[in-house]
Structure formats: structure tokens, C-alpha cells
Symmetry: C2
Subunit: 456 residues, 2 copies
């Protein structure tokens, strides 16, 4: 229950539509895509920066936990109101304020849906590259808070690479402005990145200046079939070293191939144990030569065959296998647990070898797919047999994260730390650095009202 | 004079070579390329992180100002020991620790000279794009501290875009580690950027993980001649919107053309009042088509002629005009003052119109050249006649910065704030944001020992 006085102060400027505490509303905002949940005491829907500021001020005064929330598509519980309190839904901050075509940037509010921004800018010949899997639902604010990644990171980077500036309301209600529309800008400290990926624990983003790039003229897709995942993975750094910059390099291991084989609708050589799915974009006239080079590198690395999609329908067919992967895996086992890790790209073969060993050790099926071009692997783990104890899966997940760390990798690549991996953050970050991060949190949010129980 | 006890503690681990207080050494480290100067009490040359840490601890205990220093090529006084104290020269941190070819990164110490790193990585087919004009002398540590830019920013971005991780010693002597070798990494707060561009006021960088890219196969140069600078500037966003990504887009105004005309050694149409000098890099087979498109865009925007360099010698000749610009301007006026500003690229024509008006108003000659592709303009100002009071030049500089701000631009693009623009930082950054930056400084450096009198 919120303190009576705080509730009263909130209702001075929020009407009934903007302040909700019905059981239905509280349930709706109690969970996110992580399947974790916790009931908030109230949900607020501010429309103006002044409202966000006043809400935070009140929460700060009355020590009420408050969780900013985009679309709730996060996978590590970033938007779950762990300590009850208030959920602040930013859905009314849904304006694309400006698309500044000649300066290659957009000014947007955090509640804009990622795909809507993409459509809007593509309509005028521009491109916003970050493409998290949930982009049809996820919001720009959530993407920034989580530093969302995606398929196109190989060539284009992740959300942080597109944040030029932010308007942020701090927990004390003060509004600050970071960055600018200028490509070169060395005025003052570069504090934008402090908020990007901070998972709503340091401030509430109310506006963002996002970098845009010219829309690529054309795209083509290629699928390469390999006899072994380590061989496929070895081809990846070589592709990049040759100066070929595919937009995406997705890999499938043999389990993923088995699961999707039937829906693929194109021939897969029998001995195939791994596949690389790659997109190339750019000038239409240059793409055929790039695809040819990509083909040749794959063949020289031992690819059994290479399938090139000649038109949009064929591209779509190749991509269908990737898109339907999650569903397809359920035909092998009904229940999977997932990890999101990163390793330097050349360590992918080592990581994959480790999956096999860890799976054997724990009697757990470990399936992996993901972004070979940027080292981000999505790992799915399931009991090998109905009678495998669930603690085996937990132990295998643990071992996977430990191995990633041993390979100079990270325990979280694009899905955040949230509440789920919070107790493991010290595996990647040393004590002194962690203390420094805690000091930053204390400086910004001395009463820990903002998204408590997340990240640190 | 340093406190006797502090000196004694320093000499416990620094030998005579590493701790110097002779008048010659002190003079040598009293100034940087800004022409500002101030005498330090001593100069230290640590070799190890433990030394850096101990030195900072001692300075923190005895409240001794300390200024980290790379090669001293900065233009805004970032390395000048304004409050005396100690200069910490990082020249002994000069190792390229690792070039990790397959993971596209290098691990380097801060004293490595920028051009040396470039040569080392280019020798194995990689590329470190940031190219500040002083790169033959400047160090990576200095580049990171100043977030150095350069010509290639149009396509490749600036130093901050290549910093994947840092080792930093904080003013209290604690060492922290930021970032990783992973492209995707969302573990903890992203604190690298806090130090990039902080001009040595928040910590001392002792190691950096730098992103590398594949070395472009070939390069070609094009010079376009325009009847008017506003027309030339208008072509720039259009070039980028067409998906052409030149490495560099440098512009010259009419004064620069007059100053360099004779040394150019190629015909310039008589009516030329502006030029764009552009490099294109990439696949050798794709460059001719790109150059042709670039040529066509320039012609369609009213270029009088376009000169394409067919070989390395011709490229060098076109570039000679740019490289000799500083020297050539001295043939017009003996004494120039310089400003480094940024505006969103589409505002360059407005900015150039403003130069003319400001020049008229103050009876000052204003010459501009620079990086049209990223909005970074280098402005040179000189008295129009021998009897122009120097306060006119000062007033004109002031007006130039004010106008940049009015055009959504920045008072510093790539040369830092340092001591020189410190009192103007509020022109770009609002009060609340500035307070927040000051709080960050206080958190990291409560006694303000680290490079006092800079940035804030």
C-alpha cells in the first residue's frame, strides 16, 4: 500500500486514467517476458516530463520503489516491480517528435515502438538498425534502458551505438540533458552511456536523440551448410577479415537444424551439422559480387553447399527457419531454459565444444543458436530425459556462464542483468569496479527508489 | 613546492629517472600545444599501474594537483599544470600488449603513439580509423582523454567509437576495469564513456581495449570545385543520403583556396569559391562506381568541375592543399586565432553565412575549413588590418561560438574544453546537467587533485 499522503499528492496532477490501482491493472503490470512477477501497489501513466519529475520527487520523499516500464518484453525481469511500489508505464510518451533527415537523426519519446520508428524512417529513405527480436512490441525507451541488440549488430552495432543524446529525469526529480545532434561533441562529460543499459535503475528516459543512417538499397540472403559447427564458426572471423560486412551472421547447431529441417523447404545436405544464415545489404549493384565472395569463403572453409536466395520470397523462406526456431525446439523437448551470453567471436568454437562437455557432464541437452557475427550465443537447455532432475539444468546453466567468463566472454549480451543474473555480476566485474558502480547508483539514487533489486 | 613528506614517499618507489624536478624538466612539461603554460613542481614517469595508483594515493593524501599527460599535442590546455603540482607523463606505458586479429581489437597502453598503432594493425590487415591531425605524435591515452576526432570521422566515427574497455586508476588510487572484448555486453553500467573525453579529470587511463576494423583494400580521392560555399555545403547531406559513405569530406572556403591555389598544381576553375576534398575507401572493384556517383552528385549540385586522382601521386597532390593549409594561411595574415566548433551537418550553410556577417560586424577576417561531412568546422580568425584591435578578434570568436550554439551546435567538437573554453561550457549544457557532472567529479575526485581547472 502506498502512503496515503503520497497517493494524495499523485492524484493532484494525475487523473483516474493516469493513476490506477485496480487489481486488474496491478496484475497487468506485475510481470514481464521473464515470467517473473510481483504486484505493484499502483500503476501511473504520465504524459509530460513535469509529471515524471513530480512522481519521482514524491517517490523519493516517501521512499516508494518505482519501476519505469516500456512494453515489458525484457527477459531478465527488468520491469518487474520486485519491491512492490509503483510501476511507471511510459506508453503515453509515444511521439516521434522529429525526423531530421539531413542531419541523420530522430528525436523520439521513449514509448515509441521500435518497429514504428523503423517504418517511419524507412519511408523517407533512412534506417534505424537496432532490431531486437521483440521490436514489433518493444519500445525505444526499453531498448535504451536494456541496450537492446539484435541480428544486425554484426554490421551496425547495438542500441548504444545509436543514442546521440538523452533527456533523463533523475530520482530526485531533476531533469538533465546529455549529448547533442552533433557527430563530434566534446563538451563536458559523456554521460549518455551511463543511462544506456542501466535498466531503469539510474533515471527515467523521457526523450532520445537517435542516430539514423541511409537506408540500404537492397538486401540478399545466403545460407551455408557445414559438416561441423566448429568449422562454421571458424569461417566467421575470416569473412569479416576479408572486409565482407554481412548485416547478420546467424548460426544454427545440429539440434536446431533437426528441429527446423522439415519447415525449411529447401534441400539440406545430409551431412549438415551446422548452418550460417547471412544477410548482405548495400548497393544493389555491389551485392552480387559480395554474395559471391561470401560463397567462396564458406566453400573454402569446408561448406558442403551454399544456398543463395534470389528473390524476396526465397529470402523469406531461408529466414523462416530462424524465426520459427523457438517454436521448433519445443517439438524436441517441451520445456527449455535460456541463457544469453557473449564471447569474443573467435572463441565461439571453444564455447561450442564446452556446450557438448557440459551437456554430457550434467545429462542436459544444450542447443545453441544466435549471432555468430558478434559472439552473442543464445543457449537453450533442457532435461535430456523426463527423469533428469531440474537441478541438473540449473547446474548446466551455471557451468555455461562460468565457461563464457573463462573465454573472456560476458554473462549477459543483450538481454540485461535484471533480477535474474544480479547475483552473478561479480563473475564479470571485479570488486573495485563494482563498488564504483554502486557509488554511482548511490549518488544518483541515494534512497534506492528506482527499480530496486536490479543490476547491482 | 611539493610537501617534503610526499616527495619522500614518491622517491620510495620512483628512481631519479622517474621523478624529476630540474628546471629543464619542469619547463618541458609546463606547456602543451595550446601555448598556455604553467610550471609543475615535479614530473613523474611511472612504468606500472601500481606506481600510478600509489602516486595518485599520495597526491590525494597531500592534496597535490596532478595532471596526466600524453604527448601534449592538445589545443585547449588539457595537459597544462594550471595549479602547479605534479605532471604525470605516461610515456613509459608504451606497449601494444596484444593485437587480437580474429576478435578485431587491440589491447594497448596509453603512451602508444597513435600512428604506431595504426601501422602495427595495418601491417596485419586491420585498421584503427581515428586520425587526429597530430597522430604522428599524439598518444592513444591522450586521444581517449580528449575523445580525439579527425578526418575519417564521416565514415568511421571518432575515438569514443573505438574504445571497448578501459583500465582506469581513480584519484583515490583504486583501479577499475570497464567494458570487454565483446561486441555485445550488458553486464553492469557502461562506464567507459565517462572517462573518454573527460580530459584527465576523472581518472588516469592505464590500458585500453580498442576496436579495430578490416583494412580497406583501396582508396581514391576526388576534389570538387564550387562557385559558392553554401552550394558546396548543401551537397554534403545529399551525398550521405544517397548512401555514399566517403571516408572524409573536407571543405575549403575561398580564402583557403586563394592561400593554397599556387601550391595545388592542378587547374582550378576561375569562379571557384569553395572546394570539397573527398576520399572514398573500400573494395578496389567498387571504388570507380562510387567515385562516379560522387562526381555526379557534385555536378548535379552545381560543381564547376571535379578532379579525380587516378593514382597515389595525384591523391597526394590533392591532399597537399589540405595539409599545407595552416602554413598557407600565414601568407595572408601573420597571426590567427582558432576555434573548433560543430554543427549538425545541414546547418553548415547557415554557419558559413554567419561567419560573413560576424566578420563584417567586427572587422575581422574569418576563414573556415574542416570536416563538412561531420559538421566540425575549424575557424581561423585574424585582424583584417594591422590596426584592428585584438578585442575585435575576441568578440568575433565569442560571436562564432554563440552562433554555433544557436544552430544546435557545440562550442567544442574535437579539441576539448580544457582550460580555454571552461567558462563557456554553460552555453551548451544546462545548469542541472552541469551540476550533475560536478557531482560526478566530486564523487570520483573529492579533493579535486586530478587536473584541476579543466572542463568544469
Amino acid at each position: 500500500m502506498l502512503p496515503q499522503k503520497a497517493r494524495q499528492l499523485l492524484l493532484e496532477f494525475l487523473d483516474e486514467k493516469d493513476y490506477r490501482s485496480s487489481i486488474e491493472d496491478r496484475i497487468t503490470y506485475s510481470y514481464d517476458a521473464s515470467r517473473e512477477s510481483c504486484m505493484p501497489d499502483a500503476v501511473v501513466f504520465p504524459k509530460k516530463v513535469a509529471h515524471v519529475s513530480r512522481i519521482l520527487e514524491i517517490c523519493n520523499t516517501y521512499r516508494i520503489p518505482i519501476v519505469p516500464r516500456g512494453a515489458g518484453t525484457g527477459l531478465t525481469g527488468g520491469a518487474v516491480p520486485l519491491s512492490n511500489g509503483i510501476v511507471m508505464a511510459l506508453k503515453r510518451f509515444d511521439r516521434i517528435i522529429e525526423i531530421d533527415k539531413e542531419n541523420f537523426c530522430a528525436v523520439v519519446e521513449p514509448g515509441v515502438i521500435t518497429a514504428d520508428l523503423q517504418t517511419a524512417v524507412e519511408n523517407i529513405g533512412l534506417f534505424y538498425p537496432p532490431d531486437p527480436a521483440s521490436m514489433d512490441a518493444s519500445t525505444i525507451g526499453g531498448n535504451i534502458a536494456e541496450n537492446a541488440g539484435g541480428m544486425r549488430a554484426v554490421k551496425y552495432g547495438v542500441t548504444k551505438d545509436y543514442v546521440m543524446g538523452l533527456e533523463v529525469v533523475l530520482p530526485n526529480g531533476e531533469t538533465i540533458h546529455t549529448g547533442s545532434k552533433c557527430v563530434k561533441d566534446v563538451v563536458g562529460y559523456d554521460i549518455s552511456r551511463l543511462f544506456v543499459g542501466s535498466e531503469g535503475t539510474l533515471g527515467v528516459i523521457t526523450k532520445a536523440i537517435l542516430k539514423l543512417v541511409p537506408k540500404p538499397e537492397a538486401k540478399q540472403t545466403l545460407m551455408a551448410f557445414f559438416p561441423d559447427i566448429a568449422i562454421a564458426a571458424k569461417a566467421v572471423p575470416d569473412i569479416l577479415l576479408k572486409g565482407i560486412a554481412p548485416t547478420t551472421i546467424e548460426f544454427f547447431d545440429r539440434y536446431c537444424i533437426d528441429a527446423t529441417r522439415e519447415m525449411m523447404g529447401f534441400p539440406i545436405p545430409t551431412e549438415t551439422r551446422a548452418m550460417l544464415l547471412m544477410d548482405v545489404d548495400g548497393r544493389a549493384s555491389e551485392i552480387p559480387a559480395t554474395i559471391k565472395r561470401l560463397h567462396d569463403v564458406c566453400i573454402s572453409h569446408g561448406a558442403l553447399a551454399v544456398e543463395i536466395a534470389v528473390d524476396a520470397a526465397a529470402q523469406d523462406q531461408l529466414w523462416r527457419s530462424r524465426r520459427s526456431l523457438h517454436g521448433a525446439l519445443n517439438t524436441i523437448r517441451p520445456c527449455w531454459e535460456e541463457e544469453d551470453i557473449a564471447v569474443p567471436i573467435a572463441r565461439i568454437p571453444d564455447m561450442i565444444r564446452a556446450f557438448n562437455a557440459i551437456g554430457e557432464d550434467h545429462n542436459v541437452l544444450i542447443v545453441s543458436f544466435g549471432h555468430a557475427g558478434d559472439g552473442n550465443i543464445h543457449v537453450s537447455l533442457a532435461a535430456k530425459h523426463g527423469n533428469t532432475p531440474s537441478k541438473n539444468v540449473t547446474a548446466a546453466r551455471h557451468a555455461v556462464l562460468k565457461e563464457a567468463v573463462a573465454l573472456e566472454g560476458r554473462i549477459a549480451a543483450e538481454h540485461g542483468i535484471g533480477m535474474v543474473k544480479r547475483n552473478k555480476i561479480g563473475w564479470n566485474i571485479d570488486h573495485g569496479t563494482l563498488s564504483f558502480m554502486k557509488n554511482l547508483k548511490d549518488l544518483l539514487d541515494p534512497h534506492h527508489i528506482l527499480n530496486p533489486g536490479k543490476v547491482l
